[in-house]
Symmetry: C3
Subunit: 329 residues, 3 copies
């Protein structure tokens, strides 16, 4: 059990206050007890520093005069991550390797140290890298490829057939979907996600990307390295998203467009065109901020805009009447 | 097989008409045959009273002069529920207890009379209460807790890792997610729902809440008792929803806000701020009704608003020209 | 291995250029190598004709002077589908019939040539037609019916209980859901879809409809034959959608409305009223195009509309001041 000072040294933080207490775990500011450390990164919760019972709190460099001992660092969230790994570590799995209630096709490959939970399916010709974790009932269709250290949470589906039909006289004819999905190294995918295989070629989730839950990625879409996709996002087919882009919850991007690098798409936005690098998109349809932010704000002020138009109409009417009256005189 | 009168007595309704027919089941107004009862709660379908072949119809107290026998009550939907339970009962399961094709970790606990279907996973240290029903392929991660009489429909995932990453120089580092999910008594959760565990502490679904399908609840969010969440809703992390709140389909609530008690959030709304008790929120971004309703309505009238602005511009231009002309004269 | 000319004859296309090369597979314009054929249907990619290494490209009749050999036809996407079937065929399954890790209730029926993957559940009294494919972990609840040639992708759930509760004094009482889901012939359903059973009667997905991923269909809704539903769509209970309707991604339709035949609902639209046949709906709330399209466009121009209102206010103010001044004089 490290002391606060020992922990500080390991996570690159400076102790402000008494660093002698031993700490064994992390907790929230509200729920922490002595012997626990907590963290502050969202300024909304700063006032809880006065009341927390934590032995110490990881916080930014700007906090002064704290009653509770601080572990101060320029990046408290990153330091908190390190403390969590040191004090708690990552999940221990109840078994190693492929659970007997999983199904791995004889022609599929699974790398070393990968853990496949009950109900997992890995289809013919699929390749799962090393140190992967496939949680219960996640599914990898035939010929799809997962890199190393990939995590699939429960119920996620990789590589089912995309929405590919040729409609002829009212009948939708299925196009064989002979491409696959490539999920690169260090990707984590949440629960009940659905990543369609490409018709030809590959749908690609770039290295180190993190997808939350209930996300739909269409056939032959590509998410660049380091992407962050929040829950309920929809990316339509053949769209390309650059590296380190962030797509907020319930946002959507139409098919066949190109979104640049380091783009942020706000929650619930609807992107219908190409997006240049380093742009913040807002609204549905989305436009770049600050214009998009103003549009969104004005959507909540339409009754007030209507009032201003009505007032103008009355004033103009009055001016016109006075005009006419003065002309008659 | 009860008569209409006997059924009426059991569900607290008054018979208007002949109550002697025997009834064995329920059906819709359109499809009912003699021997069946039906119900009317949505006024949209009132005209079907004239044509239904049902032996009797459960209806509100305001209906007069019905050709078909009525079972009248102040709350016809509640009476219909009672009739359904009496005449049909709840689902009989094809097996009792834990199906051999389910996986329950040796360190997990499952209460008495709970039914776990094939493909269910209950992880290490998890606790499932009594009289629960876990439908096929539903998943309860390690250390999560379900109360008594909880129902999980197929494919729902309780307690996977939330979206917790500390980004440092472009790499997203995983924060161990050591909290859990607590699903309180009498909660029912639809199909393919995803409830993230808290990083620290608990994500909580309050007693008696009902969640429909494909819903995402973020880490450490709390849904108060008696909540109703419709399909495709997204609740971001750390947000707190009060008791008996209703959240319509495809609506979203951002993280770290507090939504009060008895709040209704209309379908497809986007809530970005705290919401006081007893408020009806509409629009995206959402504002309280009636303002929010007006905003929504005006979103469909923007072409007309533009026309009014154009007309004003012409009128003002004409007034300005006349002004100039009169000054020149 | 057919020649380009032989393939052209089979898919009803005319060869423009040298048809003697043998072709063994299909690829994209960008990735094709000699020995492969490609296709062009989206004009956005026409410039790739100049650089593709494909032996031949399936294309429309309007393309002239192509360097690469063309297989020209009035409907290149349909011809491409035929070429894919001829050269690649549909997926070969790793087993036939019901996999031992699937669960089929003894009272359920499964037609001939149907393939049920590991983790599939088919409940009591359910009927699965002939030539169906149920991918891993898809679930068919009790008494639901799938026609012939139905495809369920992984994780999809057919016939769980809809959102049916009678609320009495703050408690939501479950109404037994005694209806079912009927999925008609030739329907394909994507991954992690959730189709609720009807309370009474049936939820129906009409013949030949194709649903993409993460779609919610409410109890007793009906989708007409030939429907196309894109990912993350929500259709609320008791709503009826006509035949050959197209519903774009993340769109929603409220409950108890009727949407006509051959209707197109644009992505992210919110439909709140009945929709007549052959209508294109846009916006949220949705209105028919071109009005709906204008409304959507104006939502991105609200800052400009505000500026025009501000300018008008200034102009009117100036006119009023001049008026007053001239009256004072």
């Amino acid at each position: 059990m490290p002391t606060v000072s020992e922990l500080a040294a390991k996570i690159g933080a400076t102790v402000a206050g008494d660093g002698s207490a031993q700490v064994n775990s992390c907790s929230t500011l509200e729920e922490a007890a002595p012997g626990q450390i907590s963290f502050l990164s969202n300024p909304k919760y700063e006032k809880l520093l006065a009341t927390t019972r934590a032995s110490a709190v990881i916080a930014g460099l700007h906090i002064k005069n704290s009653k509770v001992t601080l572990l101060q660092t320029a990046d408290p969230y990153f330091a908190f991550m390190q403390a969590m790994v040191l004090l708690h570590g990552h999940r221990k799995h109840p078994h190693s390797g492929i659970h007997p209630q999983a199904y791995v096709d004889p022609t599929a490959q699974v790398g070393k140290n990968s853990v496949l939970y009950p109900g997992v399916f890995v289809g013919p010709g699929a390749r799962v890298g090393s140190d992967c974790i496939l949680y219960p009932n996640s599914v990898v269709y035939d010929n799809c490829i997962l890199g190393d250290r990939v995590i699939l949470h429960a119920g996620s589906v990789i590589g089912h057939d995309g929405f590919g039909f040729a409609t002829y006289k009212g009948t939708h004819h299925k196009i064989p979907q002979v491409g696959n999905v490539i999920v690169e190294d260090d990707v984590e995918i949440g629960a009940n996600v659905a990543l369609q295989r490409a018709t030809l070629g590959s749908t690609i989730i770039g290295k180190g990307s993190k997808l939350s839950d209930l996300i739909s990625v269409g056939h032959a879409a590509r998410i660049g390295p380091g992407g962050l996709l929040v829950s309920l996002v929809g990316i339509a087919g053949s769209t390309k998203i650059g590296h380190h882009s962030i797509i907020g919850g319930q946002a959507g991007v139409v098919g066949h467009v190109t979104v640049g690098d380091n783009v942020t798409i706000a929650a619930r936005s609807g992107v219908v065109n190409d997006v240049p690098d380093q742009t913040l998109m807002m609204g549905a349809p989305a436009t770049p901020a600050p214009h998009g932010r103003k549009s969104l704000m004005l959507m909540t002020q339409l009754p007030e805009l209507l009032e201003r138009i009505r007032t103008l109409e009355q004033q103009v009417e009055e001016l016109a009447i006075e005009k006419r009256d003065s002309e008659i005189k």
